[in-house]
């Protein structure tokens, strides 16, 4: 008797365990049904993001401001490395279970189209919550699918050419000589400065094609066509020029090669390079070297020798998304009231964490006019904000990182002496076969 009971118990325990999977689904469903009733009074929202000094800090500032009007409101900010956020989001969304997901999530602009297309029902449209016209077009475009806007833009990755003005002067140049130039001119000046001072002109990691993305976006193209999936490599003049320029920088010896992020930061903090062409988020790292105060300046990023190419581009940057489900309205309202429309909030972001948003009305504010002592009295925020509005709009598509890996191999072969057309043709074919 005892054993029979035992068997029954264990069997039912197993059944119960098996039923757990279904149980989750069911609660998920009921959660959705009751969404409309409960979302209004949902007071704690969960956010997934990365970077404690930047994204988290910005969120905490937004939370504080929003609490003045909504004292019951609070955020539960869960901070992970960006990779982990991406992975968690992918596994949760692909499992089809909608419990355990946050209400708000940060996604890098390059990755956004991939998420929006892979999980089309998962994101909550935000276009009606804020005035999208007041934001830089390219930022809104990164989070839009078929005219539906799913993001509220956050930081711009507007690029600048960060320059050591003291080295430049030693070689007889000034910051103005680097304004409104092409990459070819940039390389020529670089060779001259390197000859005279012996200091490398720039540093890069051969595996990081960020500088190519900067070049391409300044010309308004990407390595996929406008549909976001068809590779645009072999006939892409902008990409071809980017490859040629890169090889020129490498072969002429003006480029220092680093292998990882820490080395990158070390290189300019130690004063081993003259220029750092990259996104404005690098500013905080550059300013770590306090002894270099007053020795830096920022010029607009060089453009390509291509019609329509401008001296403004973008590298990185993320936007904020709301996931469908309980609390979606509350999350959207919170974001719209802060990141979506609060001019003063953007002044605080600039002053406190040097975060540049893509919100045009905010750039009129006081904070943007401040002169930076570190950058020799330059009004860097105003300059960067101005360039932000000029950044060409590009459809990042769903294959940015996939094709970048293919191109990294192509670049390696090209640097080792292979023919450029052949290398790009191979990359094109490979990217096509993976469609």
């Amino acid at each position: 008797m005892f054993s029979k009971k035992h068997l029954f118990l264990s069997a039912s325990a197993v059944l119960l365990l098996a039923a757990c999977g279904n149980g989750d689904d069911e609660t998920g469903d009921t959660g959705e049904e009751t969404t409309e009733e409960t979302s209004g009074d949902m007071n704690e929202l969960t956010v997934w993001t990365w970077d404690p000094n930047f994204n988290v800090k910005a969120l905490e500032m937004a939370e504080e401001r929003y609490q003045e009007e909504n004292p019951d409101f609070s955020l539960n900010i869960i901070e992970n490395a960006q990779e982990d956020v991406v992975q968690k989001l992918n596994t949760s969304l692909s499992s089809g279970v909608d419990t355990g997901l946050p209400q708000i999530v940060f996604i890098e602009d390059y990755r956004a189209p991939s998420f929006l297309n892979s999980y089309d029902e998962a994101f909550y449209p935000l276009g009606d919550y804020y005035n999208t016209d007041e934001f830089a077009d390219y930022k809104v475009a990164a989070g839009s699918v078929d005219d539906n806007v799913y993001n509220i833009p956050f930081d711009t990755g507007v690029t600048g050419l960060y320059v050591r003005t003291d080295y430049l002067e030693d070689a007889g140049y000034s910051l103005e000589d680097l304004e409104d130039i092409t990459w070819d001119e940039y390389i020529e000046i670089g060779k001259d400065v390197y000859d005279q001072t012996g200091i490398k002109w720039l540093t890069n990691d051969h595996g990081d094609l960020g500088i190519m993305r900067v070049m391409l976006q300044s010309s308004g193209v990407w390595w996929t066509e406008e549909d976001g999936t068809t590779p645009y490599i072999a006939d892409n003049m902008a990409l071809k020029e980017a490859f040629e320029d890169y090889k020129e920088m490498n072969d002429s010896g003006i480029m220092n090669v680093h292998n990882e992020w820490d080395q990158f930061i070390q290189t300019f903090n130690n004063g081993d390079v003259v220029t750092v062409p990259t996104g404005n988020w690098i500013s905080a790292s550059i300013m770590q070297a306090e002894d270099q105060s007053g020795k830096w300046g920022i010029a607009p990023i060089p453009r390509q020798n291509i019609e329509g190419s401008v001296n403004a581009s973008n590298l990185g940057g993320s936007s904020i998304y709301v996931l469908q489900g309980e609390g979606q309205e509350a999350a959207a309202e919170f974001l719209a009231a802060t990141f979506g429309s609060d001019v003063d909030f953007y002044q605080d972001l600039v002053t406190e964490i040097n975060a540049l948003g893509a919100y045009e009305p905010a750039t009129e504010g006081e904070a943007y006019e401040q002169e930076s002592e570190f950058y020799g009295g330059q009004q860097i925020f105003q300059d960067l904000a101005e360039w932000t509005q000029e950044i060409p709009e590009v459809d990042f598509g769903q294959r940015t990182y996939e094709i970048q890996d293919i191109l990294a191999v192509a670049l390696q072969e090209y640097l080792n002496g292979a023919d450029l057309d052949e290398v790009l043709q191979n990359a094109q074919e490979q990217a096509e076969s993976n469609m």
Binding site: K4, S94, F115, H206, H258, N259, Q398, E402, S433
Partner: protein, 303 residues
């Protein structure tokens, strides 16, 4: 009376036996169910997904298309090549080193055996990420390794351990060998301790040299263990992920990308295509089966 007693006794025994049968089936049933739920179900499900393609949750049934795609996918072919390069150079190197260390550390005359054994085994219990980070520093362009090599004039210019396709592969091989040699050595050590010392004694009396003893006695006696370690190492190397991910990021280019890392990239780095990623993971299953079969053959034939 005695008859009745017997009957009762028999009945009782029967009941107890029945209970035992139930009990034992229960014990078998529970793990079986768990294995089915957590091993076989995912395996079958993964195979089913591998017949689909699409982004994220928008999967369409496409039959064997994913498997056909494998043969034209340069990134996959490179990943397979890299994995096999690691496997071909690293496993023999590691097994020879492990044998060497185990014989050395099994010497009766050696002092502080415990200390040395611990030293060799220690890497196996070190955190993967921690050691990868330290390796990155050691092998960076101006890192300790390059400085030592330059100090002794072995090289004139620093080696780009992380930036050169060839040296990055060498670095990965060094890293895995460093980590797993001690682990395999433990197996050999325990096998060595099971060899009857009388055999060696007899060999010595017959005038066999140390080298002869090693090749004619030690190696044959250890054959089953060598077979076992080479199979587990093969499987481990085919699934290699942590070292390339943390040390080189698969780069430069895709010079150190392994199959497992490619699966990760397909699922999490790029726009997720779980169907194709599953097809790639099934390719590992095929490789493991083939290689293990070959190793079994080779290991058995000589017997």
């Amino acid at each position: 009376m005695s008859d009745k007693k017997k009957k009762v006794k028999k009945k009782k025994m029967g009941k107890l036996q029945r209970n035992r049968v139930w009990m034992s089936w229960t014990f078998v049933l529970i793990p079986t169910l768990f294995i089915i739920t957590f091993y076989f179900y995912p395996m079958i499900q993964a195979f089913w997904i591998s017949l689909h393609t699409g982004t994220g949750v928008n999967l369409d049934f496409t039959g064997l298309d994913n498997y056909r795609r494998l043969f034209n996918d340069q990134a996959f072919i490179t990943a397979v090549k890299n994995t096999f390069i690691f496997f071909i150079f690293q496993i023999p190197l590691m097994i020879i080193l492990a044998l060497f260390f185990s014989v050395l550390l099994n010497q009766k005359t050696l002092h502080f055996k415990g200390v040395f054994r611990t030293l060799v085994f220690l890497p196996a219990i070190t955190s993967l990420v921690a050691y990868s980070l330290i390796f990155r520093y050691l092998f960076s362009n101006d890192g300790v390794v390059n400085q030592i090599l330059m100090f002794f004039n072995f090289i004139d210019d620093p080696i780009f351990w992380l930036g050169d396709p060839f040296w990055a592969k060498v670095l990965i091989i060094i890293a895995i060998t460093w980590r797993w040699t001690g682990y395999n050595m433990i197996f050999y050590l325990s096998a060595l301790q099971n060899i009857d010392p009388g055999i060696y004694e007899a060999a010595r009396i017959d005038g066999a040299s140390a080298v002869q003893q090693f090749f004619k006695i030690t190696i044959p006696m250890l054959r089953p263990v060598i077979l076992f370690t080479s199979i587990t190492s093969t499987i481990g190397t085919l699934q290699l992920f942590d070292e390339p991910m943390n040390l080189t990021g698969g780069g430069p280019g895709n010079a150190t990308t392994t199959i497992s890392q490619y699966i990760y990239n397909l699922s999490f780095e790029y726009t997720p295509n779980f169907g194709y990623a599953s097809a790639v993971s099934y390719s590992i299953v095929v490789f493991v089966l083939i290689l293990s079969a070959i190793q079994f053959r080779v290991g058995r034939e000589r017997k």
